[in-house]
Symmetry: C3
Amino acid sequence: MTTTRSALTGAAPLVHCLTNTVVQTLTANALLAVGAAPAMVDEPLEAEGFAAVASAVLVNLGTVHERTAAAMRLAARAAAAAGTPWVLDPVAVGGLAFRTDLAAELLDSRPTVVRGNASEIMALAGAGGGGRGVDSTATADDALGAATALAGRTGGVVAVSGPVDLVTDGSRTVGIGGGSVLLTRTTGAGCALGALVAAYVAVAGDALTGAVAAHAHVALAAEAAAAVAAGPGTFAPLWLDALDAVTDFGPAQVTG
Amino acid sequence: MTTTRSALTGAAPLVHCLTNTVVQTLTANALLAVGAAPAMVDEPLEAEGFAAVASAVLVNLGTVHERTAAAMRLAARAAAAAGTPWVLDPVAVGGLAFRTDLAAELLDSRPTVVRGNASEIMALAGAGGGGRGVDSTATADDALGAATALAGRTGGVVAVSGPVDLVTDGSRTVGIGGGSVLLTRTTGAGCALGALVAAYVAVAGDALTGAVAAHAHVALAAEAAAAVAAGPGTFAPLWLDALDAVTDFGPAQVTG
Amino acid sequence: MTTTRSALTGAAPLVHCLTNTVVQTLTANALLAVGAAPAMVDEPLEAEGFAAVASAVLVNLGTVHERTAAAMRLAARAAAAAGTPWVLDPVAVGGLAFRTDLAAELLDSRPTVVRGNASEIMALAGAGGGGRGVDSTATADDALGAATALAGRTGGVVAVSGPVDLVTDGSRTVGIGGGSVLLTRTTGAGCALGALVAAYVAVAGDALTGAVAAHAHVALAAEAAAAVAAGPGTFAPLWLDALDAVTDFGPAQVTG
């Protein structure tokens, strides 16, 4: 149920990120820290072709607008057509019609992994009205039924962030504990996790294994960084250091 | 003349930021550090509805363009209609016609607080030709007349940044000293202050009190961070740590 | 063959950056750290007029799209018409038709300096097919012929990043060694270098001298930061500290 950190570094997957402008820097640095290569092309004229040659694609709806929505549609379709794994992070879906409709449409391209908080996953599965922006007012356990249903619909994996993250392919569910509350006080930490899921899924034998590995890597690094950080500001660069320093992780972090 | 830090943390206001792409990350992290919740929705199809449910709205013109200008107009009107406090940060207004015209138009939605440097406030009040970008070539004292006139026009509060910040509602004026010159060497520190003004105004009894509290919070945190920072790069994460660590502030920082 | 750091600080050049959204924050902070003033205006209605009054202009294609491409065309033409130095950073040119065509068109405005990695320079000179995104699969030495040819075409300077950076005006070529591999693990470090090249060229007697000074400044600061950084995350703020702390640099870093 784990893949190795060394496999990721060895493959250096190119992750094409169509993500929100708030978190692009942290996302790129997190990918670089783990040995992957980021690229942030979001012009519709380029996104389709680039997604087809990337190792994996991330679509994150945080600050989506009409131009980037067009790029996301093209990139998701291109990834699906090429058999390239792609991750959907449905930020704030539920409360806002434009992105909620877009996310529902993107599901037709069958994301390899959907990663979000409980409110987002429940909203995307049609089970709730969503949260207020990026906050989640539901717990991961609340969302497990929705996650399982959503995985059944996409044929892929669904990951729900919370104090214990849950990752499911609809039949098997894995919990990843640990981490740090400082992740929730660092803008973009969850979004960067979505990018690491894309990177790991590109090199793992299966999507569940890859998604679990990314969550374990992030949680371990967060624990290491939290142990030395003086607050939420110094946590972020230390977390990047720790993402780089994590050598490997085993079943201790993962409960199947 | 002060509101409490604990009131802010307790309310955890949702601050809808339509702000420039250079400073989105620092702005979001500053809001998280003080216990508020950031959201950066700037698609016109979403901005109006989101502004209506947010606790406060920030409109910052730093990298405004036609799409985000449309979103800002809708958000400002929605905030005004809903009685939601909103803050205008007229970055570089004066020297560039597109944003200068937009800022003048946004004044019709009567911003609760206008926050800028002396050149920007003077330009917005029609008292000067503006500076070169985000620099201010005038002092806060130079701008006090313009700030007072502008407050009279909006019916709100105007804050002018400088070595001593001035915050006025047109009749009462408060000076906030302290802080650190390193704030001026950190891109987005002033823009993040605008977001904290929005957060504090959402929870304070009146706009003047809220705006003063935000300025005092930022100044105190800057002093604490400057005392330990090795330079302008390490200052930024330490300032976020200090924004989190500030427990309360009293009249010592504020001269009425 | 060197210009002084003190000349840069004294002049405080205003650098108009039309650059990608991933690196705007680091770029602005790097400019502030060395004593220059950043501005990031990229609305076509503003870019032309602003470029004409700036001290230097940077055009970086990292996340270019149709609106910003329009702004870049206007800014490059305005800079050329005003005799203002401008720098082209052709990120990922070669593999993507939209930006490759744009870069070729921008060459007509004769950039004062073109700065990129070997793959990008070779692609722009028509000598290769480009890399995969921002990676370079060729070395700076591989690209020297292409750089020389490109400098002959623009009448300006071409800088190729690598373990040893090469800067050429077509007849003279300077190598700048040192630096740190951590620069390649920090998103935007190369892009920020492009902005510092623009700042230095604005104050130097000639473009080659300015470009070399920027490369030497970045390399020295990287060495200082790498000596104390615990990893790629803590490197970035320490590099900004070091950019600020570098007082001057001499021929030791530069081999003519």
